[in-house]
């Protein structure tokens, strides 16, 4: 290979660029780039700058307003109180089921389909079902009353529990699919090796599988947490939007579309994003303490 011949002077620098990963295939990234800029970066920075331009007061006055009002400030806690346990339960419930479901067995596809179906339902349908099933005159309460386990209906809708159940129903399939793929990525021979070395199933799980699965569980937790933290429709439909399930996204909605105070709504949205980031940062910091390399499986 001599240097570029007289007819094709461009060959030389093209090679050098290609070695640095710059070639024509970069064009394939353009749609993603456009998408991120138009639908995420632009709205984000627009909202961010809007949040510093309140209708009256200095640039930080809307933030100050949020934190000085206990009713507003409380929405952070209300949302965390729903989203953290729901995400945790989703992840914890997914582990044993996914553990049993890895590997091949008859009917696996059917069971997986049944577990994943709630994804396709959508929040409104789930809320409708919850109201019918768990409401004061729903089947669940009717059975409890008929069997005299309770004297009056148990309130499970239009309060904290309604939203919690809704988040579990819609969040579990995500958690399950993610945990299943992380578990499939762990070589089953490792557990067999631990068994021949004298570990019973409990120690095989706690010493081998769980440590290797932890990074995956942390990631799964973050994703289901984010989904749960932005809960909005179910907080209105099966919750108590004026009281115990007045979540932060609801506060932002009311600022924007009931008070038409866009800068204040933007400030709330920024606070919401910040809280999410803090939780994710904490979880990922904990995640980095675990082994995150190859685990020898097929995943």
């Amino acid at each position: 290979m001599s240097a570029a011949g007289p007819g094709r002077p461009s060959a030389h620098w093209r090679h050098r660029l290609a070695e640095r990963g710059i070639d024509r295939q970069l064009i394939l990234l353009v749609p993603a780039l456009v998408f991120v800029i138009a639908l995420f970066l632009y709205p984000f920075f627009y909202g961010l700058s809007l949040s510093f331009q309140p209708t009256d007061g200095g640039p930080f006055s809307d933030y100050a307003r949020f934190f000085s009002d206990a009713y507003e400030r409380g929405t952070i806690w209300i949302t965390l109180r729903i989203a953290l346990p729901a995400a945790l339960l989703n992840v914890l419930a997914a582990v044993p089921i996914a553990y049993r479901m890895r590997g091949r067995f008859r009917g696996k596809r059917l069971v997986t389909t049944l577990l994943v179906v709630p994804i396709t339902l959508g929040t409104v349908l789930t809320a409708q079902g919850l109201l019918n099933f768990l409401g004061p005159t729903g089947w669940f309460n009717r059975i409890l009353l008929a069997t005299h386990l309770v004297d009056e209906p148990v309130r499970l809708t239009h309060n904290y529990w309604g939203v919690f159940f809704s988040l579990v129903i819609t969040g579990f399939p995500f958690a399950f699919l993610l945990v299943l793929s992380y578990l499939s990525g762990i070589d089953p021979t490792l557990e067999r090796a631990a068994a021949t070395l004298g570990a019973d199933w409990r120690r095989r799980f706690t010493r081998i599988t769980l440590p290797l699965l932890m990074p995956g569980l942390a990631t799964t937790f973050c994703l289901t947490f984010v989904l749960a933290f932005s809960v909005f429709p179910s907080a209105v439909l099966v919750g108590n939007p004026a009281g115990e399930t007045r979540v932060i996204s609801l506060a932002a909605y009311q600022a924007a579309y009931e008070q038409y105070d866009y800068p204040y709504a933007s400030a709330i949205a920024m606070i919401m994003g910040f809280v999410e980031l803090v939780v994710i940062a904490v979880v990922l910091a904990a995640r980095s303490r675990f082994y995150t390399g190859a685990t020898g499986g097929k995943g």
């Binding site: 070589d187 067999r192 021949t196 004298g198 570990a199």
Partner: protein
Amino acid sequence: MSAFSQLRLDGVSRRFGGQDALTDLDLTIETGEFIALLGPSGCGKSTALNCLAGLLPLTRGSIWQDERRIDTLPPERRGFGMVFQSYALFPHLTVRANIAFGLRMRRLPKEETRRRTAEAVRLVRLEDHVDKLPGQLSGGQQQRVAIARAVVFEPSLVLMDEPLSNLDAKLRLEMRTEIRRLHQSLGLTTVYVTHDQEEALSLADRLVVLREGRVQQIGSPRELHTRPANWHVADFMGYRNLWRGRVARRDGSRATVESSGQRLLGEAVGDFADHADVVVAVRPEDIRVDGAGETSNALSATIEVVEYQGRELAAEARTDTGQSLHLRTEQRIAPGDQVKLAIDPQRLLVYPAGATAETDRLADTPAATR
């Protein structure tokens, strides 16, 4: 967990969805023995090993450790060490923690765990790597960790599932010596699964050859090397020259086989009578090219292909009757040479042919091709 004087497999069988993977394996393992389970892939050798380890339940049969039945015990209560083909090292634990794992599971005192782990590390010469994770080691080093981990708690039996198959040729030879050395110095009873006959011959005290889930032969390396029980075992043990023939006359342990209108005298192995269909088996190194002057068991042939293999040459020759033969020789030969081949009657083994479908892939008698 304690040492045993005898481990007995009694009719051990395993089926997978209606397919027999292993049928009626009877084997008695004496303490200190090195046993190789040998066979082509799918012969049931790994199945047998997993049944021994307790990783696969038996479909039929039983396993006895002296007078104690152990096939109903889960793997963690058998106390056998196992080396896996993929090593199966715990990726999140250091070399030291990997090796100490079995001792930790036995809840030994800390001091003893530390001492025995260090001993095992020294045994496999990994002192400089104890704090590394398995992912930072080479294949050979990982292999040594796997072996140390399996022997550190002094198991009554060590099981090895093709432990060398993922290594390159040079390392494989080194590790083979290493395994033999460990076995000699620790006196560990070992069951070793391999498809490599050379590996099995060089390592084991006793070989078990399996084919389609059934035991074909159990014997010492020498027995298997010089006198395979049937032509399938011969095929597997390096008898590359196999061809069909018909018995002209059987006389005790001697049989005269007719092939290509030529009569060859050989050693009869197994039951067959005059005029029976047989299979003839000869190792390449048992064919001599200096057969000029010999009157019996000699064949005229032309050398066709020669491969240089260091001290020896491997060659393919075609006899005047059209049959191709593999041979090895130290003599200098070249393609096109006319030679007289000779085979010692004791090294020409004659087996009953068995089912015709199985012999179909073998060369016909040269007489038939003419």
